[in-house]
């Protein structure tokens, strides 16, 4: 080994030793955080949250149509109620304030639901959304649909959770 290369090595060693302690490398972390932030921002563009009502699990479907802001009837496994509409499709506070005794039981849908559902005089029939628990029987669903039709809502939209195809 030549003396010059030894010297160069020694110099390099000295330089390394003299270098001040570096702080944590935060650039990568900030990159991840920034990406995550943008991802979440995009995700929160359409906040149609499922209502947090007890005993309500929406069925899955391939449908990808946006839920419209319109009157909504919710069918849980214990009863039925009408969701308040406040500019957004789902009023976040309504289902949580609903107590069990405020629900319309299945055996009095035909008499009591109509009083909570104001009549519409939209031309060609009004639109209404039905959010049903996935184990609701057709018997109950039919009663709800009939009340809706009697009140002038003849275009029924079923709300679902966007999920994978079944077939």
């Amino acid at each position: 080994m030549s003396s010059s290369s030894v010297k160069r090595h020694a110099r390099a060693q000295r330089r390394l030793r003299r270098k001040p302690q570096e702080g944590l490398l935060l650039t990568a972390l900030i990159d991840i955080f920034t990406n995550l932030l943008f991802f979440l921002l995009v995700l929160s563009q359409n906040p149609t949250k499922p209502p947090e009502a007890e005993g309500l699990r929406l069925p899955k479907s391939v449908a990808s149509k946006q839920l419209q802001d319109q009157r909504t009837v919710v069918i849980t496994n214990a009863g039925v109620f009408v969701l308040k509409v406040q500019g957004k499709a789902v009023d976040k506070d309504a289902p949580q304030t609903k107590k069990k005794e405020e629900l319309i039981p299945f055996n009095s849908i035909s008499t009591r639901l109509a009083s909570q559902l104001p009549k519409t005089n939209a031309q060609g029939g009004g639109y209404i959304t039905i959010m049903g628990h996935d184990q609701t029987s057709y018997e109950v669903l039919k009663q709800v649909m009939q009340v809706c039709a009697n009140q002038g809502y003849s275009k029924l939209t079923f709300a679902v959770i966007h999920g994978g195809s079944r077939t």
Binding site: F33, L43, N46, K49, A63, D134, Y138, T157, A159
Partner: protein, 187 residues
């Protein structure tokens, strides 16, 4: 040495920005909606169209399909009762297999197997292609104890073909006639 010092670049202080991110990200994660609610296209009721029977009798020749959801089979028929014998497609039945599922709360849930939905979709696709390439009207007839999940599953099967093209998009929901096959037996 002096030369090196002149080149030393002061790094920006990123700690306040990091603090902001650390607060903002958990907040947004908590608020994020991972299961989005969507909607199926509107369904109509037979009562609003003044009864299916009267309109059916006025235009006897047109073919309108009905899919009846019985306990053990999908039954496809012509609403006007015509027999389309040669192909044995209308009327025809597709057996339904169900399975018991347990949900998060431990309750039992009955669902129709995906193979049955797929078979229904395939049969309807064939009929649609052969007899009624422009039709979009279909009736879904259900028994009282059919559950909502099965209705949605059937609607999905009926609405689009495998490639995502429209099949039968305007759906009417009504009651199923009594099941002749099961009439004498267990019911």
């Amino acid at each position: 040495m002096r030369h090196k010092k002149a080149h030393h670049v002061e790094e920006p202080n990123l700690i306040p920005f990091l603090n902001l991110l650390v607060i903002l990200i958990p907040y947004m994660l908590l608020n994020a909606v991972f299961s989005e609610i969507t909607a199926l296209p509107p369904v109509s009721l037979p009562s609003s169209s003044a009864g299916g029977a009267s309109s059916a009798s006025s235009q006897d020749q047109s073919l309108v399909l009905d899919v009846i959801l019985y306990k053990d089979r999908f039954y496809i028929r012509d609403r006007n009762g015509q027999q389309r014998e040669p192909e044995k497609l209308i009327p025809s039945a597709i057996p339904i297999e169900t399975y018991e599922d347990t949900d998060k709360e431990g309750k039992k849930v009955t669902r129709i197997k995906a193979t049955a939905y797929a078979a229904l979709k395939e049969r309807l696709e064939t009929i649609h292609r052969q007899y009624m390439p422009k039709a979009s009207e279909i009736g879904l007839l259900m028994e009282k104890d059919t559950n909502y999940d099965m209705l949605i599953g059937t609607m999905d099967a009926v609405r689009e073909d495998k490639t995502g093209h429209n099949l039968f998009n305007s759906i009417t929901v009504q009651d199923a006639p009594p099941d002749e096959k099961a009439g004498g037996a267990s019911k």
